[in-house]
């Protein structure tokens, strides 16, 4: 009974804390401007199924895709087991689903095989990060915290899977001993090999089984509450992020409505403008971006596929699309904390541009869309870079001198170079 009460208290506390943090995350995302991403629900749903659930974009790199698929399947499917743990925990039952008979045996057996797969997958991931030191996992933005974050996640998953398998091994051994409460149920294709490592005394086995059970469930609740602080948030955000992702051709940039109003009014004085959101042109800080840009930042799991295909980054420039996303998230969290402390409207003198992302970075982009193509969950760093450029050019008139010259040429003679419009057809006349 005491155990049940402790269990319920811990679970409720974990859920409450998680809800509290999620509310803050949602509030932070809502700092962004509106963006119309509610059209074509069917196409959006299919995109989510294909890209997030089906992980289709992962398979451009088959090895990590395969390992990731196992870890992902393990994560999703083993959660059925968590459901059983929750019910057992609340009602003080043991293996409540065991009445399902051979279906239960099949389920537990598959969980064990998956658990082993997850264990091995995470071990390989750790080796790739820490021993093979794959280039994709380094870079200026990959400072101590992002590196540790990745390792904490992988180690936690290994520990959780170990606890799960040890729990089953002890359980199976107790079943053979005919121990009270330990009904004969489940199949143990993996943990049977761990049984020999365990002691033979019933009391010790019960302690191990109970210990691992508590470790597993508390571990999962802790892990849940770690998500809002971690790059691992993608396990939740991948779904809304792909649902709300850009469905238009990648080459298409948004047309700014606020500008359309001004241009139309300039060309036609009788024009009555449609309503557009107030604010500055482009983005100086995170609240000038859209909520989609900000959700993208929370979704990023810092895998570095974008940066590894970025032509600017490949050739040694400062720009790294992954850094754009990480900076946006860091700045958003900072703004969020400012609001917590001092309420809305507090100016800390910092901004996304300059404090976090330098001019040199945004001007190195070729807008080639390699980053958006490479992202397995449709994050769009280019949209943020474009907004920062818009701010620099339209609000500050600060762009490289040669860009200014190009803009001046378009304005004056309708071409990015200094040629006379009268000469536009000369190619047809000369050789």
């Amino acid at each position: 009974m005491v155990a049940q009460i402790i269990f319920i208290v811990i679970t409720l506390a974990a859920i409450a804390l998680f809800s509290y943090n999620i509310k803050k995350v949602i509030r932070n995302i809502q700092l962004g401007k509106s963006a119309d991403r509610l059209d074509q629900p069917q196409k959006r749903f299919m995109t989510m199924l294909k890209v997030a659930f089906g992980q289709t974009k992962m398979f451009f790199r088959p090895i990590p895709a395969f390992l990731h698929l196992i870890v992902y399947a393990g994560f999703v499917i083993i959660n059925i087991e968590v459901l059983e743990i929750l019910i057992d925990g609340i009602f003080g039952s043991h293996r409540i689903f065991s009445g399902l008979g051979f279906i239960y045996d099949f389920l537990i057996g598959s969980f064990e095989i998956l658990a082993l797969g997850v264990w091995a997958g995470c071990a390989v991931f750790l080796i790739r990060r820490n021993i093979l030191k794959l280039k994709r996992f380094s870079g200026v933005e990959m400072t101590k915290w992002p590196r540790s974050d990745a390792n904490y996640i992988l180690i936690s998953e290994i520990l959780l899977m170990t606890a799960f398998l040890l729990m089953n091994a002890a359980d199976a051994k107790l079943q053979v001993l005919g121990s009270q409460h330990y009904t004969n149920a489940g199949a143990f294709p993996v943990s049977q090999y761990l049984q020999n490592l365990l002691p033979n005394s019933e009391a010790a086995l019960v302690a191990i089984e109970r210990g691992c059970w508590w470790f597993h469930i508390i571990g999962i609740l802790l892990f849940l509450n770690y998500l809002p602080y971690s790059k691992h948030f993608h396990i939740l955000f991948a779904f809304p992020n792909t649902y709300f992702s850009n469905l238009e051709p990648k080459g298409e940039f948004t047309n700014m409505k606020s500008v359309t109003n001004e241009v139309k009014a300039m060309l036609d004085p009788s024009f009555i403008p449609e309503e557009a959101e107030p604010g500055r042109f482009g983005a100086k800080d995170v609240n000038d971006l859209t909520w989609v840009n900000l959700m993208n930042a929370y979704t990023c799991t810092e895998c570095g596929r974008c940066t590894s295909v970025c032509p600017a980054n490949i050739t040694g420039k400062l720009l790294s699309p992954r850094k754009i996303m990480m900076d946006t998230r860091d700045r958003m969290e900072e703004v969020g904390k400012n609001i917590d402390k001092t309420g809305n409207g507090f100016d800390d003198g910092k901004s996304l541009i300059d404090t976090y992302i330098s001019r040199e970075e945004i001007w190195a982009c070729t807008s080639c869309n390699a980053c958006t193509q490479a992202c397995p969950i449709n994050i769009d760093p280019l949209a943020i870079i474009t907004e920062l450029r818009r701010y620099a050019v339209m609000e500050e008139s600060q762009s490289p001198a040669s860009i200014n010259a190009m803009l001046g040429n378009i304005e004056n003679n309708g071409a990015p170079w200094k040629y006379s419009p009268a000469d536009r057809l000369n190619w047809a006349k000369e050789s």
């Binding site: 040694g316 720009l319 040199e360 190195a364 070729t366 807008s367 474009t386 990015p416 190619w427 047809a428």
Partner: protein, 266 residues
Amino acid sequence: MSEQLNFEVPTMAEMIAKGEEPEILFWVGCAGSYDERAQKTTRDICKILHHVGMKYAVLGTEESCTGDPAKRAGNEFLFQMQAMTNIEVLNAYNIKKIVTGCPHCFNTIKNEYPGLGGSYEVIHHTQLIQQLIDEGKLKAEGGESFKGKKITYHDPCYLGRGNGIYEAPRKALEVLDAQLVEMKRCKSNGLCCGAGGAQMFKEPEKGNKDINIERIEEALETQPNIIAAGCPFCMTMMSDGVKLKDQDKNVQVLDIAEITARANGL
């Protein structure tokens, strides 16, 4: 094979004056109009249109920058000014279908003009060439033979990733009976030439290599006779790269329109 055109290029103004309507408007673009190297491609597109007897016209001096480089550089004002002025001209001529000689113009007119009141059917010249081949109106005969030549095609970002057009340019090359070789990074994984996003008009940021060098090295790895391009900016970047690598004697950089024109003796 003279570079000079032995026919007149009709302008929209002339056509309307004669009371005629073209089947398609050829949007030449700034590079195609002014850049000497790109002008060759422009003339070859005209030769192809003339050869198949398609009724076409250009805007001539009424054409102006689509606003693409302004938009990519962040100057939305200038972009929309250009766009609306161009749309006014296009709509006044009642244009329905446009072929462009540049993926940047193609992307801008096709995707960004509709929201500002300019909706047209827009194709890139490699798509036109592919359609003409499919319809049997264009073959690869009567001109230079490309048989057995090694050709590698460089995907322009705004045609490939930007608009998902990977096959049309390749089909246009397939009829040549040449040997098509792909670079390591191709199609959706293609590497930019370094000119997009208004980079064409500025010096690159500090780094350890220029992007076009990285790309040309990859292209040269395929040991091609010809590097095929579909974009005037890629053309500049790739040609510069070949020259810097001292390979301009062995490797030609040609637009798909030029290759097609040559294969047909135009």
